[in-house]
């Protein structure tokens, strides 16, 4: 058995899970997440992400294998490991009839916090997540995005060292998603280890330093975001021009392929290993003024799909 580093927030070894109906959700997972990391766990629906989170949070029983949270086994050090953990599940799982403030204060009680301390913590996180004004509202009156934020506030009320979020921004509008990203980044900067599952690959690319891709119950990729993105051989850049173009720009280098999109934009495909300064120089020489440039494809999405295929 491999040794487990004490610097890991989570260490998973040989984790398997076969459900009562015979479905094998996990087929021997080994995974380490370092302390203070912002970690992405990606995978298609049914890959096993939620099963891993379920086992860490003890809602699902592992068939075999071991999990340590900050060096302590979740099976033998139940109190210590649960105290370190905050879980934000995929599905809404608070009472629809309780008031927003009561939900967070009650959760504090389960961790041994009560009275003024519980109220202060509830206020702190409800304010941070823009829910303080809603504290006396019944939770069913909240919008979808607010409900997700309420689950984050609830998971943080005991100030865990490790926060696990299972698709926290699913169905959340772009503006709100961005504000949640900022909040999570601030939390991570302040020392909280964060593990995130998401279907928004842009989200994982923006937030996470390390990544694991799981498919059919197995880890198919486990590396840093930088190394993963470096694997991409080619990229396609889209340029918007200030003036109308009659023909596509030309390049001497055979590696650079250029196609017109419309009279004001064109795309260039080139190796990721090379710089793009030469492209700007060549465009200037041809008298083409560039108004804007963007990456055509979501790079992580391409790698994600390629990992699943492999």
């Amino acid at each position: 058995m491999q040794t487990i580093s004490p610097k890991n927030a989570i260490s998973i070894r040989g984790l398997t899970k076969t459900y009562a109906n015979g479905f094998q959700a996990l087929k021997g997972i080994d995974l380490d997440v370092k302390e203070n990391d912002f970690f992405a766990l990606l995978g298609p629906n049914g890959a096993g992400k939620s099963t891993i989170i379920g086992i860490i949070s003890t809602l699902v029983r592992a068939s075999s294998g071991a999990i340590q949270v900050f060096g302590q086994d979740v099976a033998t050090h139940v109190y210590e490991t649960k105290l370190s953990l905050g879980i934000v599940p995929q599905e809404i799982n608070f009472s629809q009839f309780e008031k927003v403030g009561d939900i967070v204060i009650t959760q504090a009680g389960y961790y041994g916090l009560r009275g003024e301390l519980a109220k202060q913590r509830a206020e702190k996180y409800l304010r941070k997540l823009d829910l303080w004004e809603k504290r006396d509202n019944r939770s069913r009156m909240l919008s979808g995005g607010m409900k997700r934020r309420l689950m984050i506030a609830r998971a943080l009320v005991h100030e865990p060292k490790l926060l696990i979020l299972d698709e926290p921004t699913a169905g959340v509008d772009i503006e709100l998603r961005r504000s949640m990203w900022e909040f999570l980044q601030e939390l991570n900067r302040n020392g909280t280890t964060i593990i995130l599952t998401t279907h928004y690959l842009e989200e994982a690319e923006s937030l996470c330093r390390n990544i694991a891709i799981i498919n059919q119950g197995q880890i198919v990729e486990n590396t840093s975001m930088r190394k993963l993105l470096d694997k991409l051989a080619r990229q396609t850049l889209v340029f918007d021009t200030c003036d109308e173009l009659a023909t596509a720009p030309t390049f001497e280098d055979a590696d650079i392929q250029c196609n017109m999109i419309d009279s004001h934009s064109f795309e260039i495909s080139l190796s990721t290993s090379r710089d793009i300064n030469g492209i700007y120089a060549a465009l200037s020489e041809q008298g083409i003024l560039i108004r804007g440039m963007r990456n055509k494809t979501n790079r992580l999405e391409e790698l994600f799909l390629s990992s699943l295929k492999n």
């Binding site: 809602l59 029983r61 599905e91 799982n93 608070f94 009472s95």
Partner: protein, 257 residues
């Protein structure tokens, strides 16, 4: 978990449970008051005056302890089964399951919540009975002890029912097909002395008979059963059901996959 933290967790679950049944008081506190009030009026007052005496007491006086106990049993059971199943159904039970609260504190919290509703309804029904008769409690300590033990036994039974339940139908089957017959045949409305010997023997197998009669003994000083046996039975039921519920919780029955 520190002892102090365990106590706070227990208190949190209990307060949440009390907040729940007082928030929906129109569903939890008023209906039993109306139903039992109608029993007082129809069986006790109107029909009871023609029945005359039962077990040496006016019929109204005879059925009051039984009806109070019926309200306690039904409400203690219903509170835990519906609340815990509702927590399962809405998945908010996960809030507790992911926290460090030990299983026995979860169980004690929900059972205490059921006992609180059982006792609350019992007090309401007792207060209502003063409109129909003047109660004099013969053995106060015994009366309180029986109410608490009985509400605990049925709260535990409701908890086990909720653990196994997968649909709302599953939490209404036991009260309808098991609990109601046991209560109605448990000496609430009659003394088992009225029954033939075979009927008395069958009734002796009904645990509710012991609870109702011990409570009646506490209030009126008369009983169809041996009080010591009844108290022992209540103790054994409490301990047995607590053990079963705790075992099922540890096993994760109906809660963990």
């Amino acid at each position: 978990m520190l002892t102090n933290h365990k106590y706070i967790a227990f208190e949190t679950i209990l307060i949440k449970e009390i907040r729940r049944f007082t928030r929906i008081w129109l569903q939890t506190l008023v209906p039993p008051a109306i139903t039992i009030g109608l029993y007082f009026l129809i069986f006790g007052n109107l029909i009871g005056s023609r029945i005359g005496q039962m077990g040496g007491f006016d019929y109204m006086d005879f059925i009051v302890p039984g009806l109070i106990m019926m309200a306690v049993i039904q409400n203690a059971y219903a509170n835990v089964s519906s609340s815990f199943f509702s927590n399962k159904f809405q998945r908010c039970i996960e809030e507790i399951l992911v926290s460090p609260v030990p299983n026995y504190i979860i169980l004690l919290g929900f059972v205490a919540g059921g006992m609180a509703r059982g006792v609350a309804v019992g007090l309401i029904v007792t207060a209502m009975s003063f409109f129909f008769t003047s109660l004099h409690i013969e053995h106060v300590f015994l009366t309180l002890l029986v109410v608490l033990l009985t509400s605990m036994v049925f709260s535990l039974a409701g908890f086990i029912n909720a653990l196994y339940a997968n649909t709302f139908d599953d939490i209404s089957i036991i009260p309808t097909f098991v609990l109601t017959p046991l209560i109605y045949l448990g000496g609430v409305f009659y003394s088992i002395e009225l029954l033939p010997s075979f009927g008395q023997w069958i009734s002796a197998l009904n645990p509710v008979l012991y609870m109702v009669n011990t409570f009646r003994y506490g209030i009126l000083g008369t009983s169809d059963v041996n009080i010591v046996v009844a108290l022992l039975m209540l103790g054994v039921f409490s301990a047995g059901l607590f053990g079963v519920a705790l075992y099922l919780l540890r096993k994760g029955t109906g809660l963990r996959q």
